[in-house]
């Protein structure tokens, strides 16, 4: 724990900036009801009220408080993206490790299925499935997680392949440990660093992807506040020179940059330790 704190103190400025951004967003997401003056979907004022007046960031296209919507947007967007990424990793890592440890036809079957699924662009695939199943939050999470898990599978299989040939895995095998034990206690701890970094990157991808879907009107549905759909809703203001649609878009960009900065630092750090 002290090492952890020391690492953060010694991190380069860019990584600290990234951590600060993430901390602010997570704080907003967790304490959304406490730090906002209104409720998520309440109409509180006139349409397009200006920034800095009675309302901190003004109001949106139907008179809801934009600041409140942004904070709740953090909550909804980040939570959904996080759950999706977790599910994607649970599926992808299990599959990837299983393929690497068991090998043989299991590996062949899983890898060929993944190859085919990856041949279709993820957006097109998702649009097709959503047109059939409709766009509820659960469908969204499961569909994106499954599509994204193919990418996680590829990486975790490749990383696990390198670990799987190690002597200590061989020892565990000879000791008669089961597949679950090998996956959980031999392979996972030794692949943690690349997996954590990948988690950051995949989170960004999923987060951007869900925002794009919401922007297209096919993701998280109104009146739920979500950054992608907020851009879509407020774009009509462009005709009057009102740039409020850029605020949620900027929030998306900030969070992605923050995560990327931290991942970059983490990658450099963990790969540095390995070289020594």
């Amino acid at each position: 724990m002290r090492d952890f704190a020391k690492n953060i103190v010694n991190a380069p400025a860019a990584a600290k900036l990234g951590m600060a951004i993430i901390a602010v967003f997570v704080f907003a997401a967790v304490f959304a009801p406490v730090i906002t003056p209104y409720s998520e979907t309440e109409v509180v004022g006139d349409v397009w009220e200006e920034v800095g007046g009675q309302f901190f960031l003004g109001t949106d296209h139907i008179g809801r408080d934009l600041y409140t919507r942004l904070v709740y947007g953090a909550r909804n967007t980040i939570a959904i993206a996080f759950v999706t990424t977790m599910l994607s990793f649970a599926v992808g890592i299990s599959g990837g490790f299983l393929a690497a440890i068991v090998g043989g036809w299991v590996d062949q079957a899983l890898s060929r299925v993944v190859d085919i699924l990856m041949a279709i662009p993820i957006l097109i695939f998702a649009l097709m499935i959503l047109s059939v199943l409709g766009t509820s939050v659960t469908t969204l999470i499961v569909v994106i997680a499954l599509l994204d898990s193919t990418r996680v599978y590829r990486l975790s299989r490749a990383v696990a392949m390198n670990v799987e040939v190690m002597d200590y895995v061989e020892v565990a095998r000879l000791r008669g440990e089961g597949i679950w034990y090998l996956m959980r206690y031999e392979v996972l701890p030794n692949t943690l660093a690349p997996m954590v970094a990948e988690f950051g990157l995949r989170f960004c991808f999923v987060f951007l992807f869900i925002s794009s879907l919401s922007f297209l009107g096919l993701g998280i549905q109104p009146p739920t506040a979500d950054w992608g759909s907020m851009v879509r809703e407020n774009v009509s203001g462009f005709d009057f020179g009102i740039m409020k649609a850029l605020m949620p878009a900027l929030a998306i960009a900030f969070l992605t940059i923050g995560v990327n900065l931290v991942v970059d630092w983490f990658l450099q750090k963990t790969s540095g330790i390995k070289d020594e």
């Binding site: 279709i120 662009p121 957006l123 695939f125 097709m128 199943l133 009107g217 462009f238």
Partner: protein
């Protein structure tokens, strides 16, 4: 030897295309409930539903319908839209040309810029120029496509008023007017792909510059530009071409969001509209076109990188 590898890739590509078409067909087939019922609504009488099923050909077994559908697709008969009963090929034809125009436009701007910037970044590695480039790539990778699009609209359409914010094209529009009208969407796509292409180009060249034969050339006292152009570039060509074509494939898909931002009458816009209205035959047809283009471009990337690899060209 090289022919055999290329033939193998081609066969694999065709197989992938086949399976992709199967997935697209079965994906809609697995629709919970009945398509005819879903379109007609709950109040329809069983007779109307049955008649409509016959009209759609839903009473035939799945494999017959799949072959029918695939055969139609290959011959350019894409079926009819559920929303307005028009032939899908009429709906798609002009939109497909529009989408290809936009993607090609963006590619023509993006590829030379990305490769040039990537080579420069590799040459002046660790300099301030390289650092600015890597910061810029990080930020463009982090921005969603629609953000880049709206920023460009905010600056060039709303503030400076030099380009139109809505890319409204029509078939009879003269070429240069079209180039002007589509400038902002093309620029948006360029921003999105340049970063990745540049980064990969830089990585490919930096990788090569570490290799012993480049060190040899340096020790021999050759000048840097000569080393890069004469010694490094031919070997970097294969990965660079690969990156370019993969990004073209990415462009074709990235087009979807950008078309919606600029209300551009392309295939992506049609796909998004059809998904909202659940016009499944149109969704199937456009998904198949997008997926096939993507698969084909990736296949071309594979084949080109085999063909342009000096080691493959001159086997021992």
């Amino acid at each position: 030897m090289i022919l055999r590898i290329v033939a193998q890739r081609l066969a694999l590509g065709l197989l992938t295309l086949f399976v992709v078409s199967l997935i697209i067909f079965l994906g809609v087939e697995a629709l919970p409930g009945d398509l005819a019922q879903a379109i007609l609504g709950q109040s329809a009488t069983p007779e109307t539903v049955a008649a409509f099923r016959r009209e759609l050909g839903l009473d035939l077994p799945p494999h017959v319908r799949y072959l029918d559908w695939l055969g139609g697709m290959i011959q350019g008969d894409l079926g009819t839209s559920l929303a307005n009963g028009r032939k899908i090929s009429d709906l798609i034809g002009i939109r497909l040309t529009n989408t290809l125009f936009l993607a090609l436009y963006a590619a023509i701007v993006a590829v030379p810029v990305a490769v040039a910037l990537g080579i420069l970044a590799a040459l002046y590695r660790e300099s301030w120029y390289d650092k600015i480039i890597s910061m810029a790539t990080l930020s463009t990778i982090s921005f969603p496509e629609f953000f880049v699009g709206y920023i460009l609209i905010a600056v060039f359409a709303v503030q400076l008023e030099v380009f139109p914010s809505i890319a409204n094209v029509s078939p009879e529009m003269p070429f240069w007017t079209r180039v002007y009208v589509v400038a902002l969407p093309a620029l948006t796509l360029t921003f999105v792909v340049v970063a990745h292409m540049m980064r990969m180009t830089r990585a490919a060249i930096v990788n090569l510059l570490m290799s012993p034969y480049i060190e040899m050339a340096t020790l021999k006292g050759l000048r840097r530009p000569r080393i890069i152009i004469k010694h490094a570039l031919p070997n970097a060509l294969s990965p660079i071409i690969n990156v370019i074509v993969i990004n073209l494939a990415f462009l074709v898909v990235g087009v979807v969001v950008v078309e919606v931002v600029f209300v551009y009458p392309g295939l992506g816009q049609l796909l998004v509209d059809s998904v909202s209205s659940r016009d499944l035959p149109v969704v199937q047809a456009s998904c198949l076109i997008f997926a096939a283009t993507y698969v084909l471009l990736n296949l071309i990337a594979d084949i080109l990188s085999i063909v342009s690899n000096p080691r493959m060209l001159h086997p021992k």
